[in-house]
Amino acid sequence: MRQEQFEARFAARWDEFDLWLKHTRLPRRQRAKQATPFADVEMAPRYREICQQLALARSRDYGPAVTERLHRLALEGHDALYGTPGGGLSRFFAYLAGGFAQEVRREWRVLLAATLAFVLPYVLTMIAVRAQPDFAYIVLPADQLAQFDTMYGPDADALGTQRGARDDLTMFGFYIYNNIGLAFKTFAGGLLAGLGSLAALLYNGTFMGTIEAHVVNLGHAARFYSFVAGHSSFELTAIVLCGAAGLKLGLALLAPGDHSRSAALRQAARSVIGIVAGAAAMLVIAAAIEGFWSPRTLPLPLKLGVGAFNWVLVIGYLLFAGRRNAP
């Protein structure tokens, strides 16, 4: 076929494809108003047709006018076909409804390791500080401990805050900014052969164990637990999840198996990035609880009950969500 015939025969279809591409690029509202040259489902076969014609045009040494145009159409079609599907947020919520828990269960090994890395120092320092109150001053500087003393002491206006500094919205913002950032850093630390994540988990475990035992030593147990009960489930679990995701990265770096290190890293990242995103969502919930519910001075049994309920919720979710449509 000569080039002129080729162009004459297919140019109309190329125009349609071009029009369709332009249409997809319109903002959603305008898109609804304008008609498409063909239905979206027809896009893939049309795209393949373009690719085939491009190959044909190249093999027949047709002039660059044709090949360049086909090439451009093919490239833009490629982007449209393989680009990000829409509905990012709704897909994320669908993921939270089940896929998240499934992935967490699939990664139970690193999760177990991360849990141990967090819980062991937590329990050990708690026992140590309870048995030997002065031990707290070895672990943490005195002024930091004093700060917690005032936060949970009877003088504080609201629970978990230093005097006069309380504002729910501010604290919510602070928790979001600080805690999720720390969680992300815990994950990214996995890239340092897993050491960053491990260190973060160990440090957090030690820190929290010390604080808890220290505050209890001072006799503020009721106020302390009243504060932490509500959000601890979401927060601690999310930290451990991020740590586990980081450990997975570190593991891929240390023991890549049959893959090259970079390929192993890529696979590991792909399998845990959803977990990190899910953990971030958990931390948003935790921040909301910590900002608006935890500081309320309500009867202790009620607050402990809500805390227990949250724990059941989190663990139950991670254990059972998404089981039905699991593969």
């Binding site: 795209y47 393949r48 690719c51 085939q52 491009l54 190959a55 190249r58 040494d61 002039g63 660059p64 006018a65 360049e68 090439h71 451009r72 093919a74 490239l75 833009e76 490629h78 982007d79 393989y82 680009g83 990000t84 599907p85 990012g88 994320f92 504002d167 729910d168 919205l169 501010t170 604290m171 919510f172 913002g173 602070f174 979001i176 900014y177 999720i180 950032g181 992300f184 850093k185 994950f187 990214a188 630390g189 890239l191 340092l192 960053g196 990265l249 970079s262 890293l265 890529r266 590991a268 990242a269 792909r270 990035i273 959803g274 990190v276 995103a277 900002g291």
Partner: protein, 228 residues
């Protein structure tokens, strides 16, 4: 042949040539983004601080979101580029040349933390200088690549020239050569253009000097279909 191109082919076997972008333009893009982010912080903080304490909370949330998700949002929703990258003509793509999605974008941007170490992206810089495709650690893990935006360049318009065709059909190399010449020659010195054109006697029927140049232009016009 040394080049900064990564060649991938799509499932339909179209060869894509991705032109990888190195540390210098990326650092500049980052600087621009930094300035923009700073501007946004100011723009948010000044009115919100009027709300008093609650405002601080909102500012913190905004800072968090911008800090972590500014690149992600722009990369996924803004066709692969933050404003800074756009200014430098850069775009983030998956390793296979497809537009970057939520997962890879989130991965590469969360791992900025690792690239940042120990001071202001020192690790990322070293990684970029050492990697063939100038990837920082986040790019390696997320299998993404920063490339120059593909220009769907309109073909150059060479100066008007009389119609000229060769007898034999042109091979693809010859077509490319003629078009490249037509694109470049106007910007060369006339002597150099003539010297070049004389190196293609098989395309100009052994014409010399200005005539050779004209003939090549004519050929280019024929090839691009502009003569019609």
């Amino acid at each position: 042949m040394l080049d900064t191109v990564r060649e991938v082919s799509t499932p339909e076997l179209i060869a894509l040539r991705l032109h990888c972008a190195g540390p210098v333009p990326r650092a500049l893009a980052w600087l621009i983004d930094l300035a923009i982010r700073g501007g946004i912080y100011l723009a948010i903080a000044i009115p919100l601080s009027a709300f008093g304490k609650g405002g601080t909370g909102l500012v913190l949330v905004a800072v968090f979101l911008i800090e972590w998700f500014y690149p992600v949002l722009f990369e996924v929703l803004g066709r692969g580029a933050t404003p800074g990258k756009r200014a430098l003509g850069l775009v983030v793509l998956n390793g296979d040349g497809s537009p970057v999605g939520w997962g890879p974008s989130l991965t590469r941007n969360l791992l900025r933390v690792a690239d940042f170490l120990p001071f202001l992206y020192a690790l990322g810089l070293i990684s970029m200088l050492m990697s063939r495709e100038f990837r920082r650690l986040g790019d390696i893990v997320a299998d993404t690549i920063v490339t120059y935006r593909r220009s769907a360049s309109p073909l150059p318009i060479a100066p008007e020239a009389p119609h000229w065709r060769t007898k034999a059909p042109l091979s693809r190399t010859a077509q490319r050569a003629v078009l490249a010449f037509a694109e470049r020659a106007p910007r060369l010195s006339p002597e150099r253009a003539e010297e070049l054109a004389e190196q293609a006697p098989m395309l100009t029927d052994d014409a010399l000097g200005q005539q050779a140049v004209e003939r090549l232009y004519g050929l280019a016009h024929h090839l691009t279909g502009r003569e019609r």
